[in-house]
Symmetry: C2
Subunit: 280 residues, 2 copies
DNA sequence: CGGCGTGTTGACTACCCTCAACTCGAGTGG
DNA sequence: CCACTCGAGTTGAGGGTAGTCAACACGCCG
């Protein structure tokens, strides 16, 4: 065990107090091989590793905060199961959703630079989170070079994910954003061994909207439109993908019922115009 | 020198061939202390370091590419002087500007994960770039733990920067985005020892627009509006900030000349409405 | 039961995009 | 020297996308 305060991390069922002030019961430990597997680090040489090096799990219930903005940084977190969101709070108290971590994702990395977390992580469901003290994290990389590269790779993957988000927010229509969001969720569920075609959203329309730079109404309307066209089925949070390829390449909603509405509106405007002309 | 192919990195004025296919002349080398200073790594213990460990500089002229998307990853880059942009190219060939690296910034980190660069870096002016082979980078961290933390910190800083961008793109008005962009440029120029009040933009309206998720026309109009209100002065690429605090906190443009136009439009609409009613 | 959070849908509006014309300056070549 | 092109930038007119405001339905829980 590399932890300085290793003693406090042993013992089944002990109480763990987090900075968020809640008490939870720790239940499981993972070894290095399990953690690497979880992080999708492929070439992990199964050479002898320290059997005493174990990583603590902590359970969170929906609504609980894993860390908050400004809290001193010392841990990185890896999702073993469950769903979360990470959010930024702006000067007016508005939430901006940054990501929806799920199984295999690491979060908390934005705290490294300033030694304070730059965002807040909240459980959207019951979660099992592996906590990795940053010092252990770096010590690992020092001992096993190929692991170090993999750890940089995890951060790099996160950078790419955010670049993709920036690109989406900067250039895609609301429909395309929602479509890609569904596809991306589908792929992540499929990776986790669940169905990529039928799944339940774990987040509200509000949270999806914040994540995609849209209002909750626009998200709701877009899902309804996809439903009418037959691209998906929606019923509250239950989603069924009917045509993933169409969603994958969608840029603008094809003319449809919505089009009819617009035409009607145009007709009305034309009518008004006629009336104006008539009046003059 | 830690490089395997170290020999090719010695000799003043030798020719260096980059993957982009251009030939340039290397001129300078930096030691570790200089590089750390450039990266704003504060607590660099000046304990004995390898005097043979030097980092190669390469010069680029405006328009030249430092790396392209998909190119095999092996180097990280640090800007010693000059201005660049990094861009993503989408499936239709459209550019999405991701960042404007300048003195002290590192780029290329998005290549670590897939061992291929995920974006393209282009010089906007003459540039002096320090090239750090990724292997040297990781080897450094292994030898000097406090340096390793700093290196993770550099990546963490980049993560935070992109989170901030996502938040901006998701929630701010066009005016607020442009205002914050100017403030952020101002602060970076001030950090570099230049004037934070008067500076020249190194990028086109198009590039600013892409970066901010706006069209070039909106950027141009917004700058003109700021100019009319007296927040800034603009003449082509020359910018003068007159009221930085107003720019920093701006959320929506205050009523002005533009407001007058809107009122006029409203009046016209009301007039039309009257006509419609009269007609009916 | 009533309150609350979530989600849907409608009507209206405003912000920003699109398309277009024009200016300006740099570079080129007759 | 001037005409020409080309890219960058400015400005205007008009329209569409998505935001705002509002009403309503539904499920959950005290």
């Amino acid at each position: 065990m590399i932890l300085e305060n290793g003693a406090t991390h042993f013992g089944l069922g002990m109480q763990v107090k987090t900075e968020a002030g809640r008490q939870r019961t720790g239940k499981l430990w993972s070894n290095l091989a399990e953690v690497c597997d979880l992080l999708r680090i492929p070439a992990y040489s199964s050479t002898a590793y320290d059997p005493d090096l174990v990583f603590q799990h902590v359970q969170f219930k929906a609504g609980q905060r894993i860390h908050t903005i400004g809290q001193p940084f010392d841990m990185l977190y890896i999702v073993n199961s469950g769903f979360l969101k990470t959010v930024l709070i702006d000067e007016l108290g508005n939430e901006q959703v940054l990501s929806f971590p799920m199984k295999g994702d690491m979060f908390g990395m934005d705290g490294i630079h300033a030694r304070k977390y730059g965002s807040e992580a909240v459980a959207l469901s019951s979660c099992d989170i592996i906590m990795v003290p940053f010092k252990v994290f770096t010590a690992l990389g020092r001992k096993q070079p190929e692991l170090e590269v993999a750890l940089y790779g995890v951060m790099s993957r996160e950078l790419i994910r955010e670049q993709t988000m920036v690109s989406m927010l900067g250039s895609l229509s609301a429909e395309a954003r929602v479509a890609r969001f569904l596809v991306s969720l589908s792929e992540r569920f499929a990776d986790m061994g669940y169905s990529g075609k039928e799944f339940n959203l774990r987040m509200t329309r509000q949270e999806i909207g914040s994540y995609l730079g849209l209002t909750l109404e626009t998200v709701s309307r877009t899902l309804s439109a996809f439903n009418e066209i037959g691209l998906i089925s929606v019923e509250q949070r239950a989603i069924g993908l009917k045509d993933i390829n169409a969603l994958r390449t969608l840029r603008r909603l094809p003319p449809s019922r919505a089009r009819a509405k617009q035409d009607a509106a145009k007709a009305k405007k034309a009518e008004s115009a006629d009336l104006e002309i008539a009046a003059v």
